[in-house]
């Protein structure tokens, strides 16, 4: 096992597996987010259910570990990649062969991470620390997350940051999805284009899905 994880491909497999895991999580998260559109009561109920479900409390640390592993190993792999070319080219023209995103995954990851910090500090931590308004759901007083979220989405700077970050996320996924599959060895000559297509589609759906909510709530507030 040590030769496995010690090898460059082993490390990349860790990045790939953790990345694909996070990609799945993004879909789940998006579905939950989309319940915002169903109104205050539904969203708060789902959020309450999420907050009290034992399965979620198991998954949460797993997710955190997955994220940290993904970040840690990506950084490690990138660092050793930089060391592989100590003397840069005077002129490098990558026009022919590769996408911008594929060459800048670490940068994209960093930007997404920065957003994540903002995101967590503005929602999750406040929720955890109890600093949230309360609402009545079916006679039970629970945290009014709906109000909290929608209030956030009324702030122009926040919405803009959110949308831009989701754009970066989309780019990150557009390469990350099929790259992860390729690293796992699940691609070949025939499947390769299908994975790329699927990955691109998936990243568009995810990015657009996430963008939809802040834009929707922002426009709803400011148009009328």
């Amino acid at each position: 096992m040590s030769t496995f994880l010690g090898a460059s491909i082993g490390r990349k497999l860790i990045v790939a597996v953790s990345g694909l895991f996070l990609i799945l999580f993004l879909a789940v998260h998006l579905v939950v987010n989309l319940t915002l559109l169903a109104g205050q009561e539904t969203y708060n109920m789902v959020a309450h259910w999420m907050g009290t479900n034992p399965a979620v409390s198991v998954i949460q640390p797993v997710l955190t570990v997955g994220l940290l592993v993904h970040i840690g190993y990506s950084a490690y792999v990138s660092l050793s990649n930089w060391r592989a070319r100590p003397q840069p080219y005077y002129w490098s023209d990558p026009a022919g062969g590769s996408t911008w995103a594929s060459r800048n995954m670490l940068l994209l990851g960093g930007l997404i991470l920065a957003f994540l910090v903002l995101h967590i500090s503005s929602f999750s931590i406040r929720v955890k620390l109890g600093d949230a308004p309360m609402a009545d759901i079916g006679g039970v007083m629970t945290k009014d997350l709906y109000a909290m979220v929608t209030a956030r989405f009324e702030l122009g700077w926040y919405v803009l940051t959110y949308v831009v970050a989701m754009f970066f996320l989309g780019l990150h996924l557009a390469h990350g999805f099929h790259s992860g599959i390729q690293t796992l060895g699940l691609s070949d000559g025939t499947w390769r284009n299908r994975w790329v297509l699927l990955g691109t589609g998936y990243s568009i759906v995810i990015a657009a899905g996430y963008m939809l909510l802040p834009i929707y709530f922002f426009l709803r507030t400011h148009s009328g």
Binding site: F4, A7, I9, S102, Q182, T183, L184
Partner: protein, 245 residues
């Protein structure tokens, strides 16, 4: 036509190099790129200067010696060509052409545009072979190989070992080179037997020599003079996973 050249000059492995400017008049579109350099060298020698050292041999795109990074790309503009197949028709009067050596920690510069690619040899020695002693081979037709597999193995086997993949890769990764050999041999029943060991050992050697890791960027494939595809890297990844179990 008249062209401007910016060429990496470096006296010896441990000396500091730099780009040197040259102007070259009388270049013909009929020249190959290397013939243009021959011509430059002739003028340099006649002026009493030292010629630019660069590697070349067969000059027909099959030996893998030539290895110039031209205007930001290994082997210059054009799909699936080696430097020696590049023609001066690709340039216009007055163009500036920047020529650098392959850049990678694992490919140190020996002189000017010549780099040391012996790291590839070491990777090959780690397992890029089938252990078939002379005299031990069975009758050649005793093992039929489906044509599709043989053709795919051939596509991988076409690798020249020129190192353009490493030069093109932002990570200076040698994965395309390694995967071509592993893929070729894994596709053939004769070589399939040793696939696990081969994958494990060649990758370990590749890592040890200071090549970067593959992040599936695809620049290698775009610059490979033989059009070797990164689907071979996927096969290598599979072989590597299999080698762990």
């Amino acid at each position: 036509m008249k062209i401007k050249l910016k060429i990496w000059r470096q006296e010896s492995p441990d000396s500091k190099g730099g780009l040197v400017d040259y102007e070259l008049d009388g270049v013909s579109k009929e020249m190959s790129f290397l013939e243009m350099l021959d011509y430059l060298n002739t003028t340099l020698i006649e002026r009493g200067e030292e010629p630019v050292a660069f590697e070349h041999d067969c000059r027909e795109g099959i030996c893998g010696c030539c290895s110039l990074f031209i205007n930001g790309r290994p082997h210059g503009v054009g799909a699936e060509i080696t430097t020696c197949e590049l023609r001066m028709t690709a340039f216009e009067n007055g163009n500036t052409i920047v020529i650098e050596p392959w850049r990678a920690k694992a490919f140190p510069v020996i002189r000017d545009l010549i780099v040391d690619r012996s790291a590839f040899e070491k990777i090959m020695q780690a397992g890029g072979f089938i252990s078939a002693n002379a005299g031990a081979a069975p009758e050649a037709n005793s093992i039929p190989i489906p044509k599709e597999l043989a053709d795919e193995a051939f596509d991988a086997a076409a690798c020249l070992g020129c190192g353009a993949c490493v030069a093109a890769c932002p990570n200076a990764s040698a994965m395309l080179f390694v995967s071509a050999k592993i893929s070729q041999l894994a596709l053939l029943p004769q070589g399939e037997v040793e696939t696990k060991r081969r994958a494990r050992d060649m990758i370990a050697k590749m890592d040890e020599l200071g090549f970067g890791a593959c992040s599936n960027i695809g620049a290698c494939e775009a610059e490979c003079p033989k059009g070797i595809e990164i689907s071979h890297i996927a096969r290598l990844n599979r072989a590597f996973v299999a080698s762990a179990f």
